[in-house]
Every structure is written in C-alpha cells, then in structure tokens.
C-alpha cells in the first residue's frame, strides 16, 4: 500500500487548511461550527472524518469545495487558494442532490455538459463511469426508480465523470443496509486504488472510517476542532469484521464517545432552558 512520505513535504499536499473557522449567524446568536482547523491532506490520501452530529463535518466539506467560505483562515489546493467551487473538487452530498428531472445518464453527464463537452464525447465518458459503478443497464431510468444503493452509485459516477482530483464524500453510505454498504466499501476502495484520488470521507460510523481510511480524524463538538488523529496502517483489502480493525475502531470510538456525550448534554441543557 502507498505510505505517506515522512515529513509533510508541502509540495505533496493536495489540500491545506490553515486556522480555518466558520461561524454562522443564527437567530439565536452566532454559532461557531468549526474553529481553528489546521490540516494537511496528501495527494492520494483517503482521509476519514468522524464526529458527533452537528459538529461541522458537512461544513468542512462545503468549505473545501468552495461552496461556502471560511469566516477566517485559508484553504489551499495544490498551493492555490480555494476561491469558489470547481470541478476539481466534487462533493457527494449527504442528500445526494441527484436531479429528478434527468435520467441516470443525463445526471452523470451533467458536469461535462456544463463544461461544454460535445454530446458524443460526454455520452461515451459517462457510460464508462456508469459501467464502473455497474449501472449501465439503468442509464435511461429516472432517479426515483432506483434503490438507495443505486442512487449512491449514480452520485459517485456523476462526481467522478469530471475527473476531480479531490472527492469529498458526506456520509454517503449512512442510509444503506449492511450488505449494500459492504459492497460499496469494496467498490470505493477499488475506485480509490484505480484512480488514486484524494478522498475526504465524512461518516459518523467509526468502523466505516477505520475500514476505509488511511487516516481518521475525530472532530470535537461545538466548536468543531480536531480532537485527535489516527493513522491506520492495517493492510488492505480490509473487512469490517477484522479483529484488528475492531481494536483500532474501539480506540477511535472512545474519543468520539466523549464528544457525543458532550453533544447529548448540550441537547439536554437546551431542552431545560425551554
């Protein structure tokens, strides 16, 4: 497996976040979702981010994608500052956001269409990615005709087709049954190995994080900071049932539990106040 070179040489950094904070103005006053996040992500790294609900995981991905701007701090990609969205960094949203008015193939084509790629060429390219996620025979279906796992794979193909070098995935497999999720884990690992993309993968499932990631980051709850990091050196391919994997997962989980408890406490306090 590819090992991260010792000493984070700045030229190999795909992404660099420096003291990034994001504060939202809400009716109940300012809410700091992320605070002082400094992070370097290597080219070809598979980074998993875990944290309790509401700690700012989606916010982090939106910031990297350029769909949202940090209140303070800087984000760099390939040593250029991130300024707005770009098809080099594609998000697979928690809610997917597949377009119901388009067929599967047209959904996958969308990014290329926006780039003005000719019809023949974008058809061909999109079909290649549909094959990659085993959905060729569903290219003329509409989104609502697909199962949850199939929708996930369409979203994956739609994101890959513009050949981004950074893939930002937001709890993509949260709503799936265990078998489908296992399959998609294998598929993700394969695609990652084939394309060597830099992946930031958000999940609240610690086992999933350890199963997929080369590194796992635990975010703290409100404000979201980097609480701890784990480098996962378990050999690939991995399986969710591997005993070593379970052991590592337990370590990560201990860290996460503390934050979840904080989140629950805050929820209680909030309820008492009302």
């Amino acid at each position: 497996m590819s090992e991260i070179p010792a000493g984070p040489g700045w030229s190999q950094n795909k992404l660099r976040l420096q003291n990034v904070s994001r504060t939202f103005q809400t009716p109940r006053g300012p809410l700091t979702a992320l605070e002082d996040i400094s992070l370097e992500i290597q080219e070809g790294e598979f980074l998993c981010v875990v944290g309790p609900s509401g700690c700012g995981k989606s916010t982090l991905l939106n910031l990297i994608a350029g769909l949202d701007r940090p209140t303070s701090g800087d984000i760099w990609k390939d040593s250029a500052p991130v300024d707005g969205p770009g098809t080099d960094r594609i998000v697979i949203f928690q809610e997917l956001g597949l377009f119901p008015w388009l067929t599967v193939l047209e959904n996958v084509e969308f990014g290329l269409r926006m780039q003005g790629v000719s019809k023949a060429q974008r058809r061909e390219q999109s079909r290649r990615y549909l094959r990659m996620v085993h959905l060729s025979s569903f290219e003329s279906s509409y989104v609502h005709q697909l199962s949850g796992g199939m929708k996930q794979r369409v979203a994956l193909a739609r994101s890959l087709v513009t050949e981004p070098d950074v893939l930002l995935m937001d709890e993509p497999f949260a709503a799936l049954d265990a078998q489908t999720r296992d399959l998609l884990h294998e598929e993700m690992e394969r695609i990652w190995a084939e394309t060597r993309k830099t992946i930031v993968f958000v999940t609240h499932n610690v086992r999933e994080a350890v199963r997929l990631g080369g590194r796992v980051i635990v975010l703290s709850f409100r404000p979201g900071r980097i609480k701890s990091q784990f480098t996962i050196t378990l050999p690939r391919p991995r399986h969710l049932e591997d005993p070593e994997l379970a052991l590592t997962a337990r370590e990560v989980l201990a860290q996460l539990k503390e934050e979840i408890n904080k989140a629950v406490e805050e929820e209680f306090r909030h309820e008492e106040n009302h």
Binding site: L96, L98, P100, W101
Partner: protein, 253 residues
C-alpha cells in the same frame, strides 16, 4: 379506456335526463331548450360559420393574451424570487392584485385603449398574469437548496445554473401555474367579450340572449366549456402527468 366509457355513459345519462325533463314541458322551450334544439343550434351555427368565426376570434385573442401572460409571468416570477427586496414589495402587490376579479380591469382598459382589441387582451393578461407569476415564484422558492449546491459544484453558474438547474427544478410549480393561468385567461376572455361585445364566443352568447334564442346560448356555453376542458386535459394534464411520472411524484396508481 374504461374511464372513457364510464364518462361517456355518464354524459349520455345526463343528456337522457335532460331529454326527459324537456319532454315533460314543465318550462316553455324558450326557457328550457331540448337537447335536440341545442344540437340543431350547433349545426346551424357551424353551417353558417358564425360559430367558427367566433371560435377563431376567441382563440386568437387567448393565444395573444395568454402567451403574453406566460412570458411576462414567468419572467416576473423569477425576477421577484431573485431578490428579497422585490419579494417583499412587488411580491406583496402581486398577491393583493390577484384578489381582483379580472373584469375590474375592464373600465381601466377601455379608458386606456378604447373599445379596441388591445383592451380585451389587457383584461386577459391581467386575469392570468398574476397566477403565473405567483406560481413561478413559489416554484423557485420551493427548489431544494441542494440542487443549486449540486449544480454549482458540478460547474454550473450564472445563466447555466438558471437554465439547467433552477428552471427545470421549478417545473412542477411552473406547470401548475400555466394551467391555472390558462383557466383564468379563458374565463377572463369570455366574460370580457360578453360585456365588451365585439365578436368572439362571449359575444355570441350575448347575441343568443338578445334574440331570446336559448338553444344558441346553451350551444355556445357547450363550446366554451369544451374548449376550456380540452386544452386543460390534452395539454396541461398531460404535461403535468409527464413531469409527475418523471419525478416519481405519483403514487402506485
């Protein structure tokens, strides 16, 4: 298929009851015409081409008036939805104007445009423009933010984002707006023509009254209903169904 036969049977029953009542001679025929005399009125109306001319004139007016409403209404709807300021000001005005029956615009129209074709088109536009606007605006407002995020993420911005994400994403509301706008436009036109009296189906209706020809009145009413219904069914309902199927908004039925 089954639905059509059932509907046909229903209408035949209705005509049969009508026939029976008129056979009872409770009211004189000039107040309650029989189905036969209405059919006759239809035949003569089409034979001397007066109905055809009336239909042609009304259809031309509705095409112009409704066409204008659609263009202006969709444009205005997107414009209002695009800015919070316009939404608070112009949006409110549109809502309150919508409560005016379209005939209220007739005196204004006559003052501005005289007894001209423009005046009646104006009434049609005012009758349907606002409902197209309001529905367009609602359509834009109901577009889930995630589609815009996904669109931007995949490289759509500016005009591309509007054409390929915002516009199709507001389709379901847009079509309801067009459908509702059509119904309003058609009603406004006929009532306008009835008062304004310058050819068209509404005018034929009034002529029937002036001549005490109840059969003609009922015949013209049937034509007005038929046109309104056919456009609604053949055009808008099909469009709506197609979108609902595509989006998966229909139940299992």
């Amino acid at each position: 298929m089954k639905r059509i036969t059932r509907q046909l049977a229903f209408y035949l029953c209705l005509v049969a009851i009508w026939q029976v009542i008129s056979d009872l001679h409770i009211w004189p025929p000039y107040l309650f015409p029989s189905p036969g005399s209405v059919l006759e009125a239809l035949q003569t109306g089409f034979a001397d081409r007066s109905f055809l001319i009336g239909i042609g004139i009304s259809l031309k007016r509705i095409a112009v008036g409704y066409g204008l409403s659609v263009l202006l209404g969709i444009g205005l709807g997107f414009l209002i939805a695009a800015s919070e300021f316009l939404e608070a000001t112009l949006g409110g005005l549109v809502l309150s104007l919508q409560s005016l029956p379209s005939l209220c615009w007739l005196p204004l129209a006559v003052l501005w445009f005289g007894l001209s074709e423009k005046a009646i088109i104006f009434v049609v536009v005012m009758g349907s423009l606002l409902s197209v606007t309001i529905n367009t605006q609602a359509g834009v407002r109901h577009v889930p933010k995630i589609y815009l995020m996904a669109g931007r993420n995949l490289g759509a911005r500016g005009l591309l984002l509007f054409l390929y994400v915002l516009l199709p994403a507001s389709q379901p509301h847009l079509v309801s707006g067009l459908k509702q706008g059509w119904a309003f436009a058609w009603r406004s036109l006929i009532s306008g023509e009835m008062i304004f009296v310058s050819l068209g189906l509404g005018h034929l209706l009034m002529m029937g009254r002036d001549l005490n020809d109840m059969s003609q009145v009922v015949a013209v009413m049937a034509i007005i209903m038929a046109i309104g219904h056919i456009v609604d069914r053949l055009l808008f309902e099909r469009l709506e169904n197609r979108i609902r199927h595509k989006w998966g908004l229909v139940g299992a039925a």
